[in-house]
Amino acid sequence: MQPEASLSPPPAPAVRALSCPNCGGTVELRAAGYTVHVGCQYCGSILDATDGLAKLVIKAQTALAYPEIPLGTRGTLFDVEWEAIGYLQRSQNGAYRWDEYLLFNPYHGYRWLVNARGGWSFGTMLTRVPTMQTFSTYALEGTSYTRFFRGDAQVDRVVGEFYWRVAVGETVKTGDWVRPGFMLSREANDREISWTINQWLPERDVVAAFGVTPAAKVWPPLPHQPSPWGAWLGKGARIGGIALAFLLLVSLLLSGTRWLASEALPVAVDGREQSATIGPVHLVSRWQRVRVRTTVPRLENGWVDLDYSLIDRRNQQVYAASGAAERYEGVDSDGPWTEGSRDSDVSIAGVPAGDYDLIVEYKGNRWSQNDTAYPDGGWMEPTNAPQIVVELGTGTLYAGNFLLALLLIAFPWFVGLMLHLRFEKARKEQSDFAPAASGDGDD
């Protein structure tokens, strides 16, 4: 859209040059009309520039400050171009020094760029007042912030221009509340209370915007620095959960047994030990679980002892297992009852590929009592044609594989979790309200 002709006079100048009444140096006024005090960059005197003239307020401080970002530097943060116009060096009674740059854009107002221990934050003054939620939390726009610091902040050095009467030594009471990525800060003196929301900035953003030199890793982390593992853990938990659910489903679908051989063997009526060989059976997988299931269809009030030997034809390696099928029935005061089962199911794990014979040794037994239904040979009577049916199969997957997959998936996640907890511990230990800190006992 074209601006209306009457509204496009030549642009207003942006900078006004004043000369410092103390040292004569040129002081540039970049936020004329808003600026109240200016710290001369040459002699450190504080000047009043409210009415566009420079009046000396405080003559030359002892030490000059040299901000890392030269005043007048412009950089883009959050898609807006900002000019650094003021610089404050602050501390808590001389300790824990930090730097604050006042950023200005005539169309967007003021922001703060704060550097504490090499970590950066972007501060916006609030026009709303956060509400106290609980003893230890404040809420702003439905989000809650947990208390972290409390103390005093004083101004140690000043360069550039500010929209208030800045003075070295000026002290305010501070309080900070945090949530990942954000810090809510309150500054109060006897005149006013002001609130600022500070957004944690990745260093690369500030390097890209203002060309600062990258600092070493910030450790312990800043109070509101988000854990670099936090998002990864959440995503990892989601993806890992999906992967495990998928694996579980696959295991359930594929973990059925593939039956390779089946044979019916007669049971002698005299109950002697019998033996039979089933095979050869060819096992193809490198490792597998071999399942042997024996069913005794006619079994009643008796049992069958079963001993299996799975023998590798190549090297005579023996894999042994044993089982039993037993079943009883009768009638008592509660009515008819049965107990046991007519089959036996055993597995041999970790069998390598090869050709195998299965030797089955079995012995039929009967429970003889005067009142049994089979006073003679019972279920083993030849008229019953007693037999056992032996089936041999392989399982393709089983719980062990699933557990292994679970470990493989969960391991990196647990490493991440450990790193995350270490980060959070280091971060929280800095708090004035950390449980471990002996504290000054005044809360």
Binding site: E4, A14, Y34, F104, Y107
Partner: protein, 225 residues
């Protein structure tokens, strides 16, 4: 509605757009003029506005609460700790006015309201000459507010059309109150006269401004497209 008259001092054409705004500063010679039934009276020359980088200017248009307005006047105030601008907005639809206060890079949209509607003991005492206590909580028009600032304000100068004559050196006692949700209230006491304003913090962006002042070396913001 608009009344065009020649400036009695320099002869330039001056416009009075509303009978409610009898006062204005001549755009060419900065004479302070007041219109009445008898004609135009001149009250000296307004001081030159100090250089500033405010993004607002006379003629800027925008929309507030669904109604379009034009910036038609400004008063610049100062106090011991700084200075600020009060821009006068004239709404197209009903000819009503509002003030856009500009301080510390933040904006407040305020409308004048009759002080008799205010039933606050604290504010009534202030209107009678009492001194405000900063930090004091005041319940006003169903809202909880806090006295954020109280100061003696000095009129620096003015431009454009205004509801009153803003002479340099004019002093008023100004009390600002703030609410939790960005509500603002302002009370100005000039001798026995009390003016009462109510509104809220706004951003320039939400006013959808057109005709923002161009400032050398700065790109106009996205919101002014």
């Amino acid at each position: 509605m608009s009344l065009h008259l020649p400036c009695p001092h320099c002869g330039a054409d001056v416009v009075f757009r509303s009978p409610a705004l009898p006062s204005r500063v001549c755009d060419s010679c900065r004479s302070m003029l007041v219109r009445s039934d008898e004609g135009i009276a001149q009250f000296g020359i307004a001081a030159v506005l100090p250089f500033d980088v405010s993004p607002v200017q006379i003629g800027m248009r925008g929309i507030a609460d669904g109604a379009s307005f034009e910036v038609i006047g400004r008063v610049r105030w100062s106090w011991t700790d700084g200075a600020w601008n009060e821009w006068l907005l004239l709404f197209d639809d009903d000819g009503s006015t509002a003030w856009l206060g500009e301080a510390m890079g933040q904006f407040m949209l305020l409308r004048e309201r009759p002080f008799r509607e205010v039933r606050s003991k604290t504010l009534t005492e202030m209107a009678k000459g009492g001194t405000a206590k900063i930090g004091q909580k005041v319940e006003l028009l169903g809202r909880k507010l806090v006295i954020a600032d109280a100061r003696q304000a000095l009129c620096v100068t003015a431009e454009g059309e205004l509801p009153f004559t803003a002479t340099s050196g004019w002093q008023v006692y100004n009390v600002d109150l703030r609410g939790r949700e960005g509500e603002c209230v302002s009370l100005q006491r000039d001798g026995k006269d009390v003016s009462f304003y109510q509104g809220r913090y706004v951003t320039l962006a939400e006013l959808a401004p057109r005709g923002l002042r161009a400032i050398e070396g700065w790109a106009l913001p996205d919101y002014a497209a």
